[in-house]
Amino acid sequence: MSQTSEDRSQTRGNWTAALGEAAERNLPFSKLLPGTQPAYVASWIYVFGVLTLVCLALIIATGVVLTIFGPSWWHTSLAGHYINSLHFWSVQLFFLFMVVHLWGKFWMAAWRGGRARTWITGGLAFVVSIIAGLTGYLLQTNLDSQWIAFEAKDGLNATGVGAVFNVANLGQILMFHVFLLPAVIAAVVLGHVLWVRLRGVVPPIDAAAIEAARSEGASR
């Protein structure tokens, strides 16, 4: 949408209007929810990002159920065991898909074309997810979680984070796992996906050569 200098002067200093205009300009719905994708996206290697997102949705959904009913339910009832297992296996698949997604993006140098922020938020999501995974293991409230806590505490204390992240403090770890870390992951992943939509899906390194060869072949 074209903007006159009068329009711009009216929105100067008005951050909500400026943000709305920037979003409208850079992320129209045709970019946010595209109906088509470039030809090179038709490859299995491009599927792993969205598979990771599906697993994250499952982790959040099952996590909400576990939060509502609590440890006595997930340790003793059949339904509790089932939802607990779904939560656990969603996490296993989440990391599995995320690692293949990371490898795929690393080898196609996915930070090209102004995509550095996409790459950084992806790396950040990976690191925060590992911490969230550790806190999840600590919340099993069984012998395993006690063993993991007391194996981890010395290493973590050696880095100096023990004062604010004490793996032997069940209450603190619970709050990290069900609120703080999911909030950080949600924000980082939202930024990651928005930057993917803003810059578009990264093309393979030889995409230009392939497209040129195809169009040359088609014109003959």
Partner: protein, 52 residues
């Protein structure tokens, strides 16, 4: 009552490398999955230009 007497995993030891068999299987499975994702044809992936 759950049993906690799960035997420890076997380890592959070679020079500096020390990895449990379950972890080695997972790393191998990830590499196989990665290679398959690169080489297997994607359904409806033929042709050029924009597509749904």
């Amino acid at each position: 009552m759950m049993s906690h007497d799960i035997p420890p995993a076997r380890f592959i030891e070679h020079s500096w490398l020390s990895i449990s068999v379950p972890n080695a299987i997972m790393v191998g499975a990830l590499i196989v999955l990665f290679i398959l994702a690169l080489v297997l044809p994607f359904p409806g992936g033929e042709g050029s230009g924009e597509q749904r």
